[in-house]
């Protein structure tokens, strides 16, 4: 007889709530006579806040660290991730509400439920302790994002969605195959097993051939590499970033990276911990390629969204740099970097949305010319975000870079840090170029800034957060310290 696992639902209450409210949103969309953004936003906000509250109650969890038949882990690591992801979802919803109000005909109520579903997938992936659950969560978030990418139904957006879907499906196949190999190597899909041996326990005492396990590792690297947009698995990123509606990019750019990296940390630093010596060189190489490809190709871009897409590839490389340390210092550094990166990405795309009002999106560099004359506030906020992306003090981006490099150097990977800092200089060039356009060029003709208040306030809060984290990083490191110990 199959033993029935004890069902303890509290640890996945945030996901349950997110899905519930997503369904409520869908029902509202189906039965409302005239779709209206306000109730949608209210439903989504309540769902997100409720999820955040339940996630917070898990901070001091005293029960078993693995629940639901060892498929879900309960730790502070996943609580931090949930907060970050829920925050990103909230900002994304705020942005979209404003974005749709500019052209009421284009409003799609499905945005909110889909965002909640995607968020549920993302939060679940960071807590999952079973490769199958990771795969389920991955599909939940991916499918929602494919639809979100094409939600406007415009040609460019549909094309982006199609590309994203095809390449995404391809990478999912790799991932699934990796899971099969891992099962073949260890007879388990649990990262850490409590009832029986999980992957880590099975690999720990192994002395014989590791071929299957190594193959599993390689395939999982491909799957995660795609999701975090690390080169050479980055092909989809520029097109999707450029084609998707800006609020979706803000949410997707920030949240996908966070979710995928948290899952990657759990799988590699915990599950494949016995293979550390085998996967660090792979991550090492991936980091170098991502940093170089992202930084160099971004120079050639004249579209700001595309440029930020390439820069996100480079940033994936920087985060991987921290992870090459394969210890809690590296995990902490990567977490700090993810927080800083998520905040900056949300803020920067908020500005991108506001730079041109109404109608067709103006994302070319020329639209930024003389922005400071049109709207000095937007230019100042964008400057903060760009400086943080470039890693200039006193922004959070600098501390983030210093910590990942420090982790890498501490583990003896100083050549990687050298590559990283040199690429940072290259990257500074294209971030500065935007500042040059904003401050040192004559204003572009015929472009009006959006004067939306709500997204402006959101971006302002995010910018303030970036500076505060840059000056007092201790606030965050104090929280990350206990969260960076991933149990096994």
């Amino acid at each position: 007889m199959i033993p029935t696992p004890v069902l303890e639902f509290r640890p996945i209450l945030p996901e349950i709530l997110l899905c519930t409210f997503a369904i409520v949103g869908m029902l509202y969309e189906a039965f409302a006579r005239r779709p209206d953004p306000a109730p949608h936003l209210a439903i989504a906000t309540v769902g997100i806040v409720a999820a955040a509250v339940t996630a917070y109650s898990l901070w001091d969890w005293t029960g078993s660290p693995y629940v639901l038949g060892d498929t879900v882990a309960v730790d502070r690591f996943s609580v931090v991730a949930r907060f970050l992801l829920l925050g990103a979802a909230l900002v994304g919803c705020l942005y979209y509400t404003h974005y749709a109000s500019r052209d009421p005909g284009s409003f799609r109520g499905e945005f909110y439920p889909l965002t909640l579903f995607a968020t549920a997938g993302m939060t679940l992936i960071t807590a999952a302790n079973d490769l199958i659950v990771i795969f389920l969560a991955l599909e939940l978030l991916s499918l929602s994002l494919y639809v979100l990418t094409g939600i406007t139904g415009q040609r460019r957006a549909s094309e982006a969605a199609m590309k994203y879907f095809l390449l995404g499906a391809f990478s999912s196949a790799f991932f699934l195959y990796g899971i099969a190999m891992a099962y073949g190597a260890t007879t388990s899909t649990k990262i850490v097993g409590v009832a029986g041996p999980g992957i880590v326990q099975a690999l720990a005492g192994r002395t014989g051939s590791q071929a299957l396990a190594l193959l599993a590792m390689a395939l999982l690297v491909v799957g995660f590499g795609f999701k975090v947009s690390a080169a050479p698995f980055h092909m989809w990123t520029p097109d999707v970033y450029q084609g998707a509606p800006t609020p979706v990019v803000a949410f997707m750019g920030a949240a996908t990276k966070v979710a995928a990296f948290f899952a990657l940390i759990r799988v590699f630093d915990v599950g494949l911990q016995p293979l550390t010596w085998d996967w660090t060189p792979v991550i090492y190489a991936l980091a170098i390629v991502s940093i170089v490809v992202g930084s160099v190709l971004a120079i050639a871009q004249r579209d700001v969204k595309r440029m930020l897409a390439y820069s996100s590839i480079a940033h994936a490389g920087f985060i991987l740099t921290g992870l090459t340390a394969a210890n809690s210092t590296g995990i902490r550094a990567a977490m700090f970097y993810l927080v800083a990166y998520a905040v900056v990405t949300l803020g920067a795309f908020g500005i991108v949305m506001l730079v041109s009002a109404r109608g067709e999106e103006q994302t070319s560099l020329d639209a930024y010319a003389g922005l400071t004359r049109r709207s000095p506030g937007l230019a100042a906020l964008m400057t903060v975000f760009l400086l943080s992306l470039a890693g200039i003090p006193p922004t959070a981006g600098f501390i983030a870079k210093a910590t990942v490099f420090s982790a890498a150097i501490g583990a003896g990977n100083w050549p990687l840090a050298v590559v990283g800092v040199v690429a940072s200089v290259v990257a500074a060039y294209f971030y500065l170029r935007v500042i040059v356009y904003m401050y040192m060029r004559e204003p572009a003709e015929g472009i009006e800034s959006d004067d939306g208040v709500m997204p402006r306030v959101a971006a302002g809060v995010l910018a303030a957060g970036i500076v505060v984290l840059g000056v007092f990083p201790g606030i965050l490191t104090g929280i990350l310290e206990p969260a960076s110990i991933v149990r096994w």
Binding site: P393, F405, W414, V421, V422, Y429, L432, V436, M440, G474
Partner: protein, 514 residues
Amino acid sequence: MREHLLTLTILFPLIGAAVLAATGRILSDRDARILALITTLATFAVSLLVLRDFDTGATGYQQIDSVWWVRSFGLQYLVGVDGISLWLVLLTTFLFPVSILASWRVESNVVRYMIAMLVLETAVVGSFLALDLLLFFVFFEAILVPMYLIIGGWGSANRVYAAIKFFLFTMAGSAFLLVAILFLYARSGQPGPPSFDLRQLTHVAAALPIQTARWLFLAFFVAFAVKVPLFPLHTWLPDAHTEAPTAGSVLLAGVLLKVGTYGLLRFNLSLFPEASVHFATFVSILAVIGIIYGAVCALIQTDVKRLVAYSSVSHLGFVVLGTFAFTQQAVTGGVLQMVNHGLATGALFLLVGMVYERTHTRELAEMGGLAGVMPWLLGAFLFVVFASAGLPGLSSFVGEFLVIVGTFAVSHVFGALSAIAVVLAAIYLLWSYQRVAYGPVREEHRHLPDLSGREVAVLAPVLALLLVFGVYPTLLTRSIDPATCAAIEQVRTSQPCADVGGPLVPAAAEARQP
């Protein structure tokens, strides 16, 4: 409050900038200028209190102020002052009100300009006072942004190119510095809690294998050599100086370049003494090339701002040469040269700016005969030209002379070669003065106004200091000597610094007596 004077010096301009940013919308341009001036004057007053509390007899860092910044990361807010940084801080806080007063004519985006200036002051003062390496790096990098905005936002025709070049050159140099700092930090953690504290890292660096220390020396060296700038990394400087607005050039030449020479003296020498000796010849050769190359380039310039810029390359070569001679006179001379060059070249840029505001040209060929039109302005110009050329009795003489003497004691070749540049300096400075001041007057220049009251207020204090420091350098050397002595003794552990070279110069010899 007295124990937090250094922190106040760093924070004052920042508070001023915050106030300006908060009230920017309701302030008139005039209010913004006055507010910035008051802030910088107050900062100067605070730094004078630092001078009052400074104990000239003591060695090591004084008035240390420290608080944990990020405890888990071993990062401290740690500032302190010694005889070297003391005068550089005073130079900075002195030149800032002068520059603010000199930029009274800036008309566009005044509030933003003043905010950039004040943030810049915080960053520069912070880099001179920081004793925690990452804190230093934070300030060092933070200099870039306001300066970049000042050049790019208020400079002349080719400003964007110059601004980006400035930013990327400096950032490229400091990239390696960051890796080196993090490397030392990683080593300091084995065993014990890791730290960025300069005093603690000195011991960590001493325990490193020789080869590693030499690589780290180079990483630090590149960062500072770009900033100085040392040949062949100097190419950003003529562009940046030429395109920057007057106050930008004054601060670049007067203060920012000193962060580089200060870094060499403070960090390279104390962290990597063995490597410093190992690379001393190499660095000295670069310095001598810079000294002569800068002077020769200055000779052929037709743009007067470019001329002054190249003269900076030459003059700062002296500082580096002196630093790497490791003799008491040379190093003290180098520090003196830092202060004096800041004043003299700052004054030159001020005057060139004033001439430019009137004639709207920087081309030497388009000027001439101005001495008859503006006797006071050109009189001040002549004074500064003499000071910059190293006329005895004016400040630059002392520094250059000490460097040459101190270097001569170690290497006749370097001493002799660098002396050539003194002659060249006299040629290009007097020549350019001649072309500006004498000869036929252009018709459109015939009715240019002479110095205004504000301009007198800008120039008078600088000129006065040039004279005072020239006549009585002991004022400076009294507190510089113990600090340079300590720096030298770290490098030459075998002999006390006073015994290296003879007490050839009264000023230096006298300074040694308590």
